[in-house]
């Protein structure tokens, strides 16, 4: 009896507390009134898909939302299908979308009538790193050596080093072009459908190097079949736990350190439809803050060596603005812009 009474009192207190909190801050108590559709502008099994389904799992396990969150894959046209679906859902607060770099690259490369300004930025969840990988049996131990060898081979187009990546005119190819520009070498870029395929092609020595995300290649690294050369960022990855017998993520040098001045980070962020109220946006911002505090999320971040920067509101919007310009420049230089 006593116990249940205390519980009631306690829960009453929390309710009162919550109200008090609500009146102080501006977060009004908007909540989804029906299941929320979680659009994934990529196929099942890819990086964005995994993250979205993890988020769904975390929300269910920790009971973070009363309504359910339903992931829906809309991968057509390099994700354009998903973005257009959110663009059309103007004012619908029950639809959110997880984005990757194709937020910028798809409209630029295909000319599909879509821009991130057609959506409301909610929050940045993390930034995904890129690492330059070679086969463990490759004679090149550092990025510098590798680039030098690639340069020597680039003279003859038939002997150029082969760089594998996901998709065409997307982040992997942009990095490859950036690498070419920074070092004056040339690669033959081979597009594949998924990051997992790319890693395995490298293990099988069908290609010479890749720019896989850490999570796409970590299994092969641990098994001693792939070797990381450098990470495309200006600071090293912070995770110091040993991943292989001798190395942690932190031990991978940055590309700048290795004399290959290229950096690139990929957005893993959330957007929703345009024309929604600030209360609705802030519900999702709070929701994802809670998701980020769970141990499952933290473990996932460490496994995949993500950069865990979190942004929301104005800060996030201006980051997106800056990156759109950056992508436009990179793609213009690479000649990837769609012909008007």
């Amino acid at each position: 009896m006593f116990e249940s009474n205390t519980k009631k009192v306690f829960s009453l207190l929390t309710v009162v507390g919550a109200f008090a909190f609500a009146s102080v801050s501006h977060a009004a108590a908007w909540e989804p009134t029906k299941p929320v559709e979680f659009v994934i502008p990529a196929g099942t099994g890819g990086g964005a898909d995994q993250m979205a389904r993890l988020i769904q799992g975390i929300i269910v396990k920790h009971n973070l939302m009363k309504q359910s969150l339903i992931p829906v894959n809309k991968s057509g046209g390099a994700g354009a299908e998903g973005f257009l679906a959110v663009k059309e859902a103007k004012g619908d607060p029950h639809k959110i979308i997880i984005t990757l770099s194709n937020l910028f690259t798809t409209p630029l490369a295909t000319g599909v009538p879509f821009n991130w300004k057609d959506m409301t930025p909610v929050a940045m969840l993390a930034l995904d790193q890129f690492v330059l990988w070679v086969n463990a049996e490759s004679p090149h131990k550092t990025a510098k050596e590798y680039i030098a060898a690639a340069k020597a081979a680039a003279v003859d187009p038939k002997k150029r080093f082969k760089m594998g990546g996901t998709g065409s005119k997307q982040e992997d190819q942009i990095i490859t072009v950036g690498l070419e520009k920074a070092t004056g070498t040339k690669f033959t870029y081979l597009p594949f459908k998924g990051g997992g395929d790319v890693a395995v092609q490298l293990v099988g020595k069908h290609i010479d190097s890749t720019v896989n995300n850490p999570i796409e290649a970590v299994a092969q690294w641990r098994a001693g079949t792939l070797r990381p050369l450098c990470v495309f960022d200006d600071t090293r990855m912070p995770y110091k736990t040993k991943v292989t017998a001798t190395m942690s993520w932190y031990d991978i040098p940055t590309c700048t350190e290795s004399g290959v001045p290229t950096d690139y980070l990929m957005l893993r962020g959330i957007f929703m439809a345009s024309g929604v109220t600030p209360e609705q946006t802030s519900f999702y911002v709070e929701l994802f803050k809670k998701v980020r505090d769970t141990p499952e999320w933290k473990k996932f971040m460490e496994d995949g060596a993500f950069n865990t920067t979190f942004m929301a509101g104005k800060e996030y919007t201006s980051w997106v603005e800056k990156n759109e310009v950056l992508h436009r420049d990179l793609m213009k230089e690479a000649g990837f812009l769609a012909k008007p």
Binding site: K34, P35, E37, S68, I70, V72, P157, T188
Partner: protein, 179 residues
């Protein structure tokens, strides 16, 4: 088929040809020819050459379009020159066409209702109408079964698997229940 006409309504016995096999061959081959040419033209615009490092985006579709066009022309000529008795056989008899349309037209209306009012309402109506109209069932049986089918689809997809199915573009009857 003659022995198995248990539920065959009147009209099936009408064996007048609506269109001959030969005419239909010609029409379809002509449509395929147009289709092939469209594909080839669109791919040509995309770039149908063989660049230094292999075929360009339109290379395969261009030849695919050309092959469709050529083989349709052959089929077309064969049909035009074919004067055998076979060719004058009916592609579809009037009675048959009526039966086919009895399924096809309601099905098209069904898809239209899906578009406007969502899959659940449309399915219930379609099941019931089909059963009453073509199966001559008592109306209450048909309505009951229609609702049962829709309800079980709803439970299975929306609740169980959490796969949202199409909600109406004009009006969503389930909006009241928060779906």
């Amino acid at each position: 088929m003659s022995s198995e006409q248990k539920e065959n309504p009147a009209g099936a016995a009408d064996t007048h040809a609506v269109i001959s096999l030969r005419a239909m061959e010609i029409i379809i081959a002509g449509l395929l020819l147009a289709f092939g040419l469209t594909i080839a033209y669109a791919s040509y615009q995309l770039g149908a050459g063989w660049a230094e490092d292999g075929p360009r985006a339109g290379y395969f579709p261009f030849y695919i379009g050309m092959i469709i066009s050529i083989s349709s022309v052959v089929t077309l000529l064969q049909a035009l020159r074919n004067r055998s008795i076979n060719a004058d056989m009916a592609f579809v008899e009037r009675g048959q066409l009526k039966l086919v349309c009895a399924v096809l037209l309601p099905a098209l209306v069904y898809v239209l209702i899906i578009q406007w009012f969502g899959i659940y309402l449309a399915s219930a109506i379609y099941m019931a109408v089909f059963m009453i109209w073509l199966g001559h069932y008592a109306w209450w049986k048909a309505v009951l079964l229609g609702i049962a089918v829709s309800a079980s689809v709803f439970v299975m997809f929306e609740v169980w698997f959490q796969v949202p199915l199409h909600k109406g573009a004009l009006y969503n009857p389930l909006a009241v229940f928060g779906f």
